[in-house]
């Protein structure tokens, strides 16, 4: 069960593919005098050290490149904002009927219902007997053992797949993989 989601492969790093550790940059610039402590902390916080020493050393020289601090601060803030956007996930609990414990998934990582379904299937593989655990389309309901449902902002339990993906991501509060027979009660009668 270790890393079966292969999360390490999707992890965002700054090194070139193949490098695992981020090296400490060397001071390459001539005549560089001692930096102030705050500068050092800021660099660590930004975390932008390249895998090769030379280019990263640029960032260590105080006041270089000669760009007005207002501009530097604006772009640094933007980088932080983007970083935050990437790292704060949209984690929701996933329960599966019959499973002894719940899981959590980051909806932000997926781009479509198919991605999500594949991931959930992989996550709960051990708990089901059937080959096709989860329905792909609403009409597959009678074929599969389980159905994915979600609780929306209003507290209602909805069948996954009816609304556009983005809308789903923004309104989903938790997921529940329901037993097929129960789920059939949710779909509108033909």
């Amino acid at each position: 069960m270790e890393d079966h989601d292969n999360l390490k492969a999707t992890e965002l790093t700054l090194g070139l593919p193949g490098t695992d550790a981020i090296e400490k940059p060397t001071t390459a610039a001539p005549n560089v005098n001692k930096r102030s402590k705050e500068e050092e902390e800021e660099e660590e916080c930004c975390g932008f050290t390249g895998s090769s020493g030379r280019p990263a050393a640029k960032a260590q020289v105080v006041g270089w490149p000669p760009v007005r601090s207002y501009r530097m601060n604006s772009f640094r803030e933007r980088k932080m904002e983007k970083k935050e956007e990437d790292t704060t996930g949209i984690y929701v609990k996933v329960s599966m009927d019959g499973a002894p414990y719940l899981r959590k998934v980051d909806l932000g990582v997926y781009n479509s219902y198919e991605d999500l379904t594949d991931a959930l299937e992989a996550m709960f593989k051990g708990f089901s007997l059937g080959k096709r655990i989860i329905q792909r389309q609403a009409h597959d309901l009678h074929e599969s053992e389980h159905a994915i449902t979600y609780e929306d902002k209003d507290g209602d339990w909805m069948l996954v797949g009816d609304v556009p993906w983005e809308m789903f991501v923004s309104s989903c509060k938790r997921l529940r993989i329901m037993k097929g027979c129960e789920a059939r009660g949710l779909t509108s009668s033909p």
Binding site: N33, P55, S69
Partner: protein
């Protein structure tokens, strides 16, 4: 020359537009001095510590417009410690006492407190224009005071200031009776403003010609405002994020089509590239385009946009435009006079965004180019020589190769010949910034050929004292010299001490100048302030009496009539 009545002399002086000319005529004789000083309306003080505020007010009682600059230029890059000085309050206090008719105040690189803004707001009944560039120390409370009390305010222009947001609805403080605004720029403010109040303000100020919004202003709001200001000449957009199918976007396109006078565009911090189509209709009229704060516009979108802007005279972009994009600029913007290419990926390793190729392309297409600021990853002598040949009209040439001390990558040679070609060809060059690997030779060229040079910025360059001496002895019109991380020491500093009284200032940091050298300079030249600025964390460890052999970290020398200033912090020693 007493044959002419004073009114005639005064009228003749009216034709002198430059400060320098007026300064010169005032030295001719007592009569001219008197006429000149009583009739001077616009006063420019390049260094706030060169003269006491009271003296300026006493000399020019009829002053209407005052410009003051504070911190040295390298303060922009965090090389000057935070509380070094440059306070605006003494100037505002003196003006309140001596020149209550003041109408315009322009401050650059100064510390402006809310207290001083409040004093400003209450002291000048005819106050019309406030321009703050790269200043700090104030909050939105200070702006609220300006908005509340300055009846008849025409211009409020805040450029790249660090303003603390106190959440106060400063913009709502403009009274309903305020209809005089012609120019409003609050792009650098981070906080929200009351959009409704802004829209009403814009609607009732019928003479509004320049409006630069901050990122908090939505597209919906922008569209509504544009609909009420069809005569707008300059626009800085707020947030430009909008669904391109949304109604607001359609209204925006419609509003832009009506703005036939729009000549200058900036902003676009957060823009969905698809939405750029909305401005294609105004692009052919643009003379100024500032996309240097638009990191979301890259590559193809950027190029597509520029292809519409064939009347452009001033272009500021990020280096994600790449050499290919610059080639498009070269073929499209034949009228281009000023180009600035800023680095977008300051902290990352990044791929080479622009190189010498882009610059050469620009030079061959834009023959009218006279002002350049170019951040690039590399430069060659050959390219600089070509650029010098193609563009002999440079007045400002600032080149920054991001890797300090980098040689010509093709030949591995220093860039002496390249810059030499620039100074030889551009006879009107007033401002020059050097970078890359450079020896004393480049300074020999500069001293010999850069006759009109007024400001020179040097970093990580030169081999010996000779370099600096070439410049000090050669450049007759030098006013500002700033040097960092270069091997110039006491011998160079003391070679031509008289020179510094002909200049506004000299800055040297991380060079080889010693405390003894600074003391010697101060002793020889009593009308210079020689400031030794110590790094804050070092001054605790420093011994009581550092030896004269001790190298000085930062030195700032400037001519002054005011003597040593009394507002210097602990870490600044004035010799």
């Amino acid at each position: 020359m007493t044959y002419f009545p004073e009114e005639v002399v005064e009228h003749i002086f009216d034709f002198l537009s430059s400060h320098r000319d007026r300064n010169i005529v005032s030295t001719v004789c007592k009569a001219w001095y008197r006429v000149e000083r009583l009739s001077r309306r616009i006063v420019f003080v390049g260094n706030c510590y060169a003269v006491r505020p009271g003296r300026v007010m006493a000399r020019f009682p009829g002053m209407k417009c005052l410009s003051v600059k504070g911190k040295p230029h390298f303060a922009d890059f965090n090389l000057v410690p935070h509380d070094w000085g440059g306070f605006a309050l003494p100037w505002i206090e003196a003006a309140a006492r001596g020149c209550p008719g003041l109408e315009e105040l322009r401050l650059k690189r100064m510390v402006v407190s809310d207290e001083s803004l409040e004093l400003l707001a209450r002291s000048f009944p005819n106050f019309k224009a406030l321009v703050l560039v790269s200043c700090e120390g104030f909050t939105t409370d200070g702006l609220a005071a300006i908005a509340t009390h300055c009846r008849g305010l025409r211009e409020l222009d805040l450029q790249e200031n660090e303003v603390e947001d106190h959440g106060r609805q400063w913009l709502s403080c403009f009274p309903d009776s305020c209809t005089s605004l012609e120019s409003l720029n609050f792009a650098c403010l981070k906080g929200e403003v009351n959009a409704g109040a802004l829209e009403r303000l814009v609607a009732r100020c019928v003479n509004l010609r320049s409006l630069k919004l901050n990122r908090a202003i939505s597209v919906e709001s922008l569209a509504r405002m544009l609909a009420r200001t069809p005569h707008l000449v300059e626009l800085g957009t707020g947030s430009f994020t909008v669904e391109h199918r949304a109604e607001a976007y359609q209204r925006l396109i419609h509003a832009f089509r009506k703005c036939k006078s729009l000549k200058s565009l900036s902003g676009f911090w957060d823009v969905a590239p698809r939405c750029l189509q909305s401005i294609y209709s105004i692009c052919p009229n643009l003379t100024v385009l500032n996309l240097s704060y638009a990191p979301a516009i890259q590559g193809a979108d950027l190029v597509k946009l520029i292809r519409h802007c064939f009347k452009l005279q001033k272009l500021w972009v990020l280096d994600c435009i790449r050499d290919k994009g610059l080639a498009v600029v070269a073929s499209t913007c034949q009228e281009l006079q000023e180009l600035r290419v800023f680095p977008s990926d300051i902290y990352g390793t990044g791929t080479a965004a622009v190189t010498e190729e882009g610059l050469v392309a620009i030079s061959s297409g834009c023959s009218k180019l006279n002002s350049l600021l170019y951040f690039c990853h590399q430069m060659t002598n050959a390219a600089l020589i070509t650029v010098a040949k193609n563009c002999p009209h440079f007045t400002r040439f600032r080149l920054c190769i991001l890797d300090p001390g980098k040689p010509d990558p093709d030949t591995n040679q220093p860039l002496d010949e390249g810059f030499g070609a620039i100074v030889r060809s551009c006879k009107d060059l007033r401002r020059l910034s050097l970078s890359g690997l450079l020896t004393d030779k480049v300074f020999l060229y500069i001293g010999e050929y850069a006759a009109r040079l007024e400001m020179l910025s040097i970093a990580f360059a030169g081999d010996s004292d000779k370099g600096m001496v070439y410049v000090l002895n050669g450049c007759k019109n030098l006013r500002k010299l700033e040097i960092r991380d270069s091997p110039f020491g006491d011998a160079a500093l003391l070679e031509n001490v008289g020179k510094y009284e002909t200049m506004r200032s000299l800055w040297m940091s991380s060079c080889d100048v010693t405390l003894g050298g600074c003391k010697a300079l101060a002793a020889k030249m009593p009308r210079l302030n020689v400031e030794v600025i110590n790094d804050r964390d070092e001054s605790d460890e420093m011994e009581e009496n550092p030896s004269d052999m001790h190298k000085v970290e930062k030195m700032y020398v400037y001519r002054t009539l005011a003597g040593a200033r009394n507002d210097a912090p602990e870490f600044v020693e004035i010799l």
